[in-house]
Symmetry: C2
Amino acid sequence: MKEFLYDNRIYYNPIEFTMAHIGGTWKIPILLCLRNGSVRYGDLKKAIPHISDKMLFTQLRELEDKGMLTKQAFTEKPPRVEYQLTEKARKALPIIDQLTAYGISLMKEAGIN
Amino acid sequence: MKEFLYDNRIYYNPIEFTMAHIGGTWKIPILLCLRNGSVRYGDLKKAIPHISDKMLFTQLRELEDKGMLTKQAFTEKPPRVEYQLTEKARKALPIIDQLTAYGISLMKEAGIN
DNA sequence: CGGTATCCTTCTTGATACTG
DNA sequence: CAGTATCAAGAAGGATACCG
């Protein structure tokens, strides 16, 4: 596997590239919140426990930059902004489900719950 | 999803627990090197480009602590140590393959290679 | 409501060097 | 050969505050 550069960063394998799209503490929770349709900023914040404005903002921006979600702003008062998954992101959902299932089996083996 | 504590760390969902086992820059490359059987320390080092002794050492130790691999030390001169996957780790291999496949598709969309 | 900026801490990784 | 220790740099993430 040959390494490559993208967006000023070096990647050594495809998994690192995958993780740039769905990795980190917050991206998967965000993607899962959006799996059933558009959700607005404030509802994401309510749905994801412990996330700060900064993290929600930066992660949404990164996901948008990478084409994992799109943003729709309605010029109302008060403002309304909705986020929704792209096809690219939808393709990751089955893998995310498997990561969850594997995590649950690891938790069982570790005696959690 | 209820958060939980394990090994002095807090987890908010099963995926974080999964990532504690296979996440980071080096764990997946190491696991993949071992998929076809036992490999010794020096061969892992040769097989994984750019990894430092420290990273190889710490990651092997973490994987061992989490029951993802076992270590067999032969008391020879010079010393020989072999690492092999556990069943627990083998169950992760199909998911790792999917993460790779997804990464490759993302790379194609991004125009890499 | 929905961001955005700034500072600061902590966690991860890299460089280097040394040991049984 | 196969580790292990120490120090430092960098990235990720949290706290806080302010804006259109």
